[in-house]
Symmetry: C2
Subunit: 206 residues, 2 copies
């Protein structure tokens, strides 16, 4: 539906001609993976979607596996990279916490395509070693970032880590359980509120 923008001398369908890049194929693959998971990823389907034949694919990629691994690598790189680009805007502890939670829950649940891809990668990781490795990396990086974000909550590092992990699994879980059913927008908001209260209740309380 959306399609990634190609610099475009030939629009995808019928006009003039432009060459496809590896990234174009990966973008198309993202669509298929979001819709049907890695197991439904077909070279022929991708080619049709891009308006070319499989001949093009096998110029850009060695084989089907090459596509999958390249996609996974790009996914990992992007997920790790995007973590650099977000810092809370400051303010008191509570508003900062609100910002973090909104990012983790409400914002994340809006990009449903990105969400679907992530769930597909996680599922694929259950039966693919390499994918599992990358998912582990991404999880660790995110939890780590949560730790720095929640550093203000407690002076006990272990407590901070546990809290970060709990929040992380809760966000992942809410993405798994509350995916795209109507009325979930409001539900997610309430979960967000509750989480805020819960976390604030976990501040250093000797």
């Amino acid at each position: 539906m959306n399609e990634a923008e190609t610099p475009k001398r030939r629009g995808r369908s019928a006009s003039e001609k432009s060459q496809l890049t590896r990234d174009n194929w990966l973008d198309a693959a993202a669509g298929e993976i979001a819709a049907g998971g890695f197991s439904q990823l077909r070279v022929l389907t991708l080619a049709k979607k891009l308006g070319v034949t499989r001949g093009s694919f096998y110029w850009h990629f060695r084989d089907h596996e090459d596509l999958v691994l390249s996609f996974l690598d790009r996914w990992r790189d992007r997920r790790l990279h995007e973590l650099q680009y977000w810092k809370p805007k400051g303010g008191d502890v509570e508003t900062e916490l609100r910002q973090i939670l909104e990012l983790l829950l409400t914002d994340a649940s809006r990009n449903i395509r990105r969400l679907q891809v992530e769930l597909a990668v996680r599922d694929f990781a259950r039966r693919n070693e390499y994918a599992a490795e990358l998912v582990t990396q991404v999880d660790a990086a995110r939890i780590n970032q949560n730790c720095t974000l929640f550093g203000r909550m407690s002076s006990d590092p272990q407590h901070v880590r546990d809290l970060s992990l709990l929040l992380y699994v809760a966000t992942i879980g809410s993405q798994v359980v509350l995916t795209g059913k109507k009325g979930d927008e409001a539900t997610i908001r309430r979960i967000e509120d509750l989480m805020a209260r819960v976390v604030l209740g976990q501040r250093d309380e000797p």
Copy 2:
């Protein structure tokens, strides 16, 4: 490669006779689904695993879809049914809460096959209407049960519902994130502890 060897004629390990039943096929399917998801479910593979040919399958099932739908139905029935069989043993609020959390987290994470099947069903539900429907039913039933279990926590029904939902998504999330990596046993225990503290902190506090 392992187990499920056929003793002599073509006997199964479960039934008295050497004849296969629909349920035998569904059990075998569970193994495949746990390992590779619904998309890797192959009639031929199942037949080999059971030591018969596909001729048997097409006697017991109309087609591949029949197998899948039957499996989903059985899954739903079992998941709903098992909810009846558990009530907390009583005691004060904290020990009861501990029991519940142990059931939801530690116990659940031990049956890794059951867990893998559930994750596979959830994944399949993302692209299959019927599966999505059943997952919704199961989720609703479980959250509902959590509500009754957590009823002692607060007198505000909405608060109880939100808390139940939060705990539910957290458990699902921990199953998704912490699946079978070593050292997760201890991690789950710590999450369990933290959850207990968190929930106790949410008792009526006007």
